[in-house]
């Protein structure tokens, strides 16, 4: 086990001070969210993949805690403790440690303890302006360390959701495809299955029961499910309601008789997710796909166009930037713009910074309503290593 949490402590502190200075000057208030976090509420949001890499333990009073594996959730909780109604604008910046177990063993490039410097903004209703502000400030903070050769990578979850909304498909498929965006393997498997019209387990007992359900009247169907369970003496345990079970069965029953997903629609989805290139090329491609399929994506497309125009006006070199439609940074709470700041030598897998919009997260953490929120974190050790490598 490493005896030092970081080898270049002094240089790292100087760099952090500069980053925080940049953030403060831009109007971001420095905050220090707790390093020890309540495990339950926190881990419920980030999922088992990151939970599996979090240091979780029980303290002497029996409370389940974790060492924060990331700072977005802790800063969001900090905002909510200061503004329980979640009705105020706030801009925060931070610099501090985060902790992750490294399954292959900790190493220089994958330390189990690392420092993140970042910014998060909450409650800013003008989302487009907040998006621009975030990308510009993160880029400026990295640039002021002397690093000029940076590349931006963009994705847009809202664009994908807009595409799904515009397609003529049953709601139950739309819901699943949204959910599976972050699980490409299942996503493509499901798309193939739907377009081939394959019906899983069409022969099972439960399929016979599902076929007998009243597809047009939910209450009748629910009563049928209730009777089925009572007859077999199956008590309702496991926290799912009769309505939830009924609605899944109705989806299943509808799939049993549904026409296959039209090939053209499956193709549109596949084509969209394959879009990748400079922002300009990507916008052109998406517009072409929409036109070809007769879809109205104007609103989402215009938003993208305006975003990149603004960034270009502000001096971001978009000819070197990449957009990829399937890029979602692997964090399910994102709802809109996602981006990474990279350098050519390290590439997509080791970004210097990454962030995105997460408008749904705060409600899940206890806010009374959805709150516009966007943030970005810098890998400070990685940044320092790159900057020192330049000299």
């Amino acid at each position: 086990m490493a005896a030092e949490s970081v080898s270049n402590f002094e240089a790292l502190e100087i760099q952090a001070a500069k980053l925080l200075d940049t953030f403060k000057t831009a109007g971001y208030e420095p905050v220090a969210p707790s390093i020890l976090q309540p495990a339950g509420v926190f881990l419920d949001r980030i999922g088992e993949a990151l939970r599996g890499r979090s240091y979780v333990f029980t303290d002497l009073s029996g409370e389940e805690l974790c060492l924060r594996p990331d700072l977005t959730v802790p800063v969001s909780l900090l905002y909510l403790s200061r503004h329980p109604e979640a009705d105020k604008e706030a801009r925060y910046c931070y610099n501090g440690p985060a902790f992750r177990y490294q399954p292959g063993g900790a190493s220089q490039t994958h330390p189990r303890e690392f420092r993140q410097a970042g910014i998060e903004s909450f409650g800013i209703a003008d989302r487009e302006a907040a998006d621009i502000e975030m990308v510009l400030l993160a880029s400026a903070a990295i640039r002021q360390t002397g690093l000029d050769d940076i590349q931006l990578r963009f994705g847009d979850i809202a664009m994908f959701f807009a595409l799904l909304d515009a397609l003529e498909i049953p709601d139950r498929w739309r819901r699943k495809l949204r959910h599976y965006f972050w699980r490409p393997e299942i996503f493509h498997r499901m798309l193939r299955r739907l377009s081939r019209g394959e019906r899983p387990e069409a022969e099972s007992n439960i399929a016979d029961f599902a076929r007998a359900l009243d597809l047009d009247d939910f209450d009748t169907a629910q009563a049928q499910v209730d009777a089925y369970l009572k007859e077999r003496e199956l008590p309702l345990i496991g926290n799912r309601t009769l309505a939830e079970i009924t609605s899944q069965l109705l989806d299943f029953a509808a799939d049993l008789v549904a026409d296959p997903l039209p090939k053209e629609i499956a193709t549109v989805i596949e084509y969209y997710l394959a879009v990748s290139g400079t922002p300009e090329e990507s916008i052109g491609r998406i517009a072409m796909i929409a036109r070809g399929a007769g879809l109205d994506l104007d609103e989402a497309l215009q938003r993208m166009v305006r975003r990149f125009e603004r960034l270009e006006e502000e001096g971001i070199d978009l000819a070197r930037a990449r957009f990829a439609a399937d890029f979602g940074r692997n964090l399910e709470y994102y709802t809109g713009l996602v981006f990474q700041i990279e350098i050519p030598t390290l590439g997509e897998g080791s970004p210097l910074a990454g962030g995105g919009r997460y408008d749904g997260l705060l409600k899940h953490l206890g806010a009374p309503q959805d709150v516009p929120a966007i943030g970005c974190a810098i890998h400070t050790e990685r940044l320092l290593a790159v900057v020192q490598g330049l000299r």
Binding site: L43, D44, G47, H179, P235, L236, R240
Partner: protein
């Protein structure tokens, strides 16, 4: 000081201990305790240069991993749960045909809309929408669960650690589903649970396990080979 004696870890309680004792008897090894009745040291009548330690099945895995014993009898489920890279740390030398148990995924029997592991992700999506949180899986097999679900593409869940009476957690409302061991399925049925069609994670049994990290002198290796051969013959 270098260890010169072969050391073997034997389960100290329960059915695993009884079955191991019977097996060693059939192999004519003369397994016995030394010293205090409740002590944890033992010996073999057949070889006076062999050390025996009695430990709990889960401690045996840790001792094997650390190379503190050369051989050990323990459950395969514990080995695969506790050791991240099984092949690198230990070798499963002889499957012993007792201590059989399946590690499985079980859900409430009333979830008639769920038959396979693939359905879980759909339910997880629906559950998150309705209840604002992830499905909770009660288990003591954290790593086996994570690996299995990752393989199957299930991710909308979180684990709640459960030390005992795992099968009661869905009825108690502290979890929605479980990953646990079962032999006959009776306990599962009594708790109104059902095993998913493709929910078998591991078919486990007791194993004689060798530790790669222990110090293997030629003498120790030779003695170990003899004992392994006698156990194989006795099966």
């Amino acid at each position: 000081m270098a260890k010169t004696k072969l050391s073997i870890a034997i389960p100290s309680k329960g059915r695993l201990m009884e079955a191991t004792a019977t097996l060693f008897e059939r192999a004519d090894l003369g397994l016995r305790k030394v010293g205090h009745e409740r002590g944890y040291r033992g010996a073999l009548d057949a070889y006076d240069d062999v050390e025996v330690v009695f430990l709990s099945a889960s401690e045996i895995v840790h001792h094997l991993k650390a190379g503190q014993v050369h051989l050990g009898v323990t459950g395969e489920d514990l080995v695969r749960e506790t050791i991240y890279d099984v092949e690198r740390e230990v070798e499963l030398v002889v499957p012993l045909a007792f201590g059989r148990a399946d590690v499985i995924v079980a859900v409430p029997a009333c979830w008639i809309d769920v038959t396979g592991v693939g359905d879980l992700e759909d339910v997880a999506a629906q559950f998150a929408q309705v209840h604002g949180r992830r499905l909770r899986v009660a288990t003591k097999y954290l790593n086996l669960t994570r690996r299995f679900f990752a393989q199957k593409g299930v991710s909308g869940y979180r684990i709640v650690e459960s030390a005992g009476a795992t099968e009661g957690t869905p009825a108690a409302g502290t979890a929605e589903l479980i990953v646990d061991i079962t032999t006959t399925g009776t306990t599962l049925r009594a708790n109104h649970l059902k095993v998913l069609d493709d929910g078998l994670i591991l078919s486990s049994q007791a194993q004689l396990v060798a530790a790669h990290n222990a110090e293997w002198s030629p003498e120790v290796k030779a003695r170990s080979d003899e004992i392994i051969a006698r156990i194989k013959d006795a099966l």
